[in-house]
């Protein structure tokens, strides 16, 4: 009888490894459990990236001593996560990159009404209509263009339907800001007219991109001449590429729907354990110091009435944002259905 010699794996070695790993991860798990520490803590869900808002959080921590636990993510995904968490959410504050995400969370009744000392700081146009969230910075819709190729600037979004722009326009239909613009279009002109405009745009064969920054990069690379995006992307792309780019921001005529000014904003959760701290953070972000920093560091607009615009750009008053209720921008579902109907999504 011949029995082959099967190699016996030394199980002890692997069991030891497993035990070590188990010990390691239980240690890490325990160390990340902050729940029982002192009340001077704040849990934030931030749809704004750490790169841009991290320094503000660090300054706040130094000034007040409140420890910030920040969860960074995509605004819409964080909103979906908050909705899923519901009453069990651990978050105190939700900072979103657009009004739509805030509106969705507010709709589910999860945001607490803000104190008037906070709401009074900001123009009513840049906050929710029921006091559940407030804008922190302004983000203007613009058309980014190649100044060497585009000599006659469009004054209205309808100008883009002209056949001379065929194949030269860039848009980002999956992007929240573009969808907010289309929602505003539906609000101002009605469903039928909005669909008409979109159909005509599609007939002009625009190129679609996943991200706004890709639109700006494409203009710089000469693939397209003009693109619908937000005002700060030309700065963002120049920074990431480490050089000056051949792209400028242009604004439509004042009042045109293409000049929509959206906001990034913040709201306090109903389930917040530290509402006072959350309110303090919002006031900090709305202070003159922070707002000036937003203008110079991230090139965004301030929501305070008297502060200057980012360099080389017109002020919010000069832009002439169309009169649209920002809260209504949360009706993204209908906008998405429209975009599907015209074939952009």
């Amino acid at each position: 009888m011949v029995i082959q010699n099967y190699e016996r794996i030394n199980l002890r070695k692997y069991l030891g490894l497993a035990a070590g790993a188990a010990l390691l991860f239980s240690l890490v798990a325990c160390s990340s459990d902050n729940q029982d520490e002192a009340a001077a803590e704040l849990t934030i869900y931030s749809g704004r990236s750490e790169e841009f808002i991290g320094t503000f959080f660090a300054d706040f921590e130094t000034q007040t001593g409140i420890k910030l636990n920040v969860r960074y993510g995509d605004s819409a995904e964080l909103a979906a996560q908050l909705l899923e968490e519901g009453a069990n959410s651990k978050a105190d504050l939700f900072i979103a990159q657009d009004a739509g995400s805030l509106g969705a969370v507010a709709d589910a009744g999860m945001l607490a009404t803000l104190d008037s000392t906070v709401l009074d700081l900001v123009d009513p146009q840049y906050q929710s209509d029921d006091g559940s969230w407030v804008g922190v910075t302004g983000r203007a819709r613009v058309f980014a263009y190649d100044p060497t190729k585009v000599t006659e600037l469009p004054s209205s979004i309808d100008d883009l339907l002209d056949s001379k722009w065929s194949g030269k326009i860039g848009i980002a239909p999956t992007n929240a800001s573009f969808q907010a613009f289309i929602t505003a279009l539906r609000q101002l002109r009605g469903e039928a007219a909005a669909e008409q405009w979109l159909t005509a745009l599609v007939a002009n064969q625009p190129l679609t991109y996943e991200k706004n920054s890709m639109i700006v990069e494409a203009i710089d690379a000469g693939q397209i001449e003009i693109g619908l995006t937000n005002h700060y992307y030309i700065y963002e792309v120049a920074q990431s590429l480490g050089r000056a780019i051949n792209v400028k921001d242009g604004f439509f005529a004042p009042g045109d729907v293409g000049n929509l000014v959206n906001v990034s904003g913040a709201g306090i959760l109903n389930t917040a354990k530290n509402s006072a701290g959350a309110a303090e953070l919002i006031k900090f972000l709305l202070s003159n110091e922070s707002q000036n920093k937003f203008v110079t560091d991230t090139n965004e607009y301030s929501v305070l009435p008297d502060l200057p615009a980012p360099k080389d750009l017109p002020s919010l008053k000069q832009i002439g944002s169309p009169r649209v209720d920002l809260t209504a921008l949360r009706d993204v579902a209908a906008t998405q259905r429209l975009l599907v109907r015209v074939g952009l999504l």
Partner: protein, 508 residues
């Protein structure tokens, strides 16, 4: 069947079915009318067509590339064959979103269906390569020689000797490829191909209406179920066995003469496309914008990645062992259904699993957004990979050993512990490495479930690329590929104990 085995198996099945249960609850949440309307949309139908064609094309090309590479490496006198094996497997270390960014950086208009086929083929071909190599190694050359002696030509030998024995392994690999394509998000979202995963993701992001998104995800589940059933039918009940004594003789390598230059060029191009290009782009971007590199952040992200992936892989193996034993030794309708449920979960987009565990975890307060829950998410996400290799390795332990063990006085459980598991250990370790590797690259579920402040290399890459700072993402991506290269290398090494394992008869 030992009672403890059936209890543990049932427990694992229940845990692994949480995401599916969540989907069903959400999908039916808005009522049947809404569900029917969502399914009937033209968009849903076109998405179905796109997803199926993408999956089938990728599977086809991955099979062609994997098989041809495996044959060249294993069966011919190709120079640098072990190097090409390592390179071929190394593509597993590169996440699909990283390689997509690299290709887009190189070719600005790189987008669309064909691009997705290319990227996904390069990403999944290693699975087929590994499976084909393992299958080819196990085939006894004496069988092939006998066939030739009986007058069969090379194609006939391939058809009647090689194919039947390698079929189960290859089919399992093809299934994994198909399910991977169904679940991939990184590549298809960047290349703007509307597969189910991308559509589900967009719906979650835009509508905040999780019902409609869940309905679409259910269609994905059904598609996955169809594929799994098809693979099970195709696999059949075949378990390759060899009658007669002696060890396997490895086949002599075929001399391909001057064609070896063509072969080397072919494999070189494949490696360049799947690994060379991404690394080149990452390195150049890194050098271009490499001013402030936060070393401590890099190190902590790496530590976090490894810890979480390790925990996830350990948990996955803990789940996989009873299930694998069940499937290999006590095959029944229940075990087949359980396996199918796990495979279907493998096809689910990470965002679905993430939200399912958010819904459940947030109710559990103390567990929510902790490392154990994240490890559990990884285990559930990648259980299919673990179970597959565990099942195969348990199945290859000759049953007659169980009989010998019993005759020596061991109970069922002692037999499993002292005989079956030690022999099957190489396959178990392979499963562990696969889960470890895949967990390191995971993104959507990690974003949702990670403890606040616990950033992995994947989430740091995402954070940088979300604001288009590809240069900043580069060091994290490079480190991820580097760390992932280790388990990848281990996966490509020959399995020393495998050579003896096809024996059924010990000559009693």
């Amino acid at each position: 069947m030992p009672k403890s085995l059936s209890i543990s198996a049932v427990a694992v099945i229940l845990l692994a079915s949480i995401p599916l249960g969540y989907l069903v609850i959400r999908a039916t949440g808005s009522g049947i009318a809404v569900a029917a309307e969502v399914i009937g949309r033209e968009k849903t139908v076109t998405t179905l067509m796109t997803t199926i064609s993408l999956a089938l094309l990728v599977a086809f090309f991955a099979l062609v590339i994997g098989l041809s590479s495996a044959w060249l490496i294993q069966r011919t006198n190709l120079p640098f064959s072990s190097l090409f094996l390592v390179l071929g497997t190394l593509a597993l270390a590169v996440p699909s979103y990283v390689s997509t960014y690299a290709w887009i950086a190189l070719i600005p208009n790189f987008t669309g269906f064909a691009a997705a086929v290319l990227i996904l083929t390069l990403t999944t071909a290693p699975y087929v390569l590994l499976a084909a190599i393992a299958a080819l190694r196990r085939i006894d050359a004496t069988q092939e020689e006998s066939a030739r002696a009986l007058g069969l030509g090379p194609t006939q030998v391939a058809k009647r000797v090689i194919w039947p024995q390698s079929r189960p392994t290859l089919l399992a690999a093809v299934l994994l490829v198909l399910l991977y394509v169904l679940s991939d998000f990184g590549a298809v979202s960047l290349l703007r191909v509307d597969t189910f995963t991308r559509v589900v993701h967009t719906m979650y992001k835009a509508t905040y209406d999780r019902s409609a998104a869940a309905v679409v995800a259910m269609v994905l589940v059904l598609l996955a179920a169809v594929l799994i059933y098809a693979e099970q039918r195709a696999r059949g009940r075949a378990v390759a066995a060899k009658s007669g004594l002696g060890t396997i003789r490895t086949a002599t390598k075929i001399d391909i003469g001057n064609k070896k230059y063509v072969a080397v060029a072919y494999l070189f191009v494949l490696s360049a496309a799947s690994i060379g290009l991404p690394i080149y782009v990452l390195v150049t971007r890194f050098i271009a914008v490499s001013n402030d590199l936060d070393i401590s952040k890099l190190v902590s992200a790496a530590a976090a990645t490894v810890t979480a992936a390790l925990a996830g892989a350990l948990l996955a193996m803990l789940f996989a062992i009873p299930l694998g034993l069940l499937a290999a030794r006590y095959k029944s309708k229940v075990s087949t259904i359980a396996e199918s449920a796990i495979l279907v979960t493998h096809a689910l987009p990470g965002v679905v699993i993430g939200l399912a565990l958010v819904a459940l975890g947030s109710k559990l307060g103390f567990l929510y957004q902790t490392l154990p829950l994240l490890a559990f998410a990884y285990a559930v996400l990648f259980l299919a990979k673990a179970v597959g290799s565990v099942r195969t390795s348990f199945a290859r332990v000759p049953r007659v050993f169980d009989d010998i063990s019993h005759s020596l006085g061991n109970s069922n459980w002692q037999t499993i512990r002292k005989v079956t598991i030690p022999i099957a250990a190489p396959g178990v370790i392979t499963g562990f490495l696969l889960v470890f590797l895949t967990a390191m690259k995971e993104l959507p579920a990690t974003l949702m479930l990670r403890p606040t402040g616990f950033d992995t290399l994947a989430t740091e890459i995402w954070a940088a690329t979300a604001i288009s700072q590809y240069g900043k993402a580069a060091p994290y991506a490079l480190l991820l590929v580097l760390i992932a290269a280790l388990p990848t290398y281990l996966l490509s090494r020959p399995d020393r104990a495998q050579v003896d394992q096809s024996r059924e008869n010990v000559g009693l």
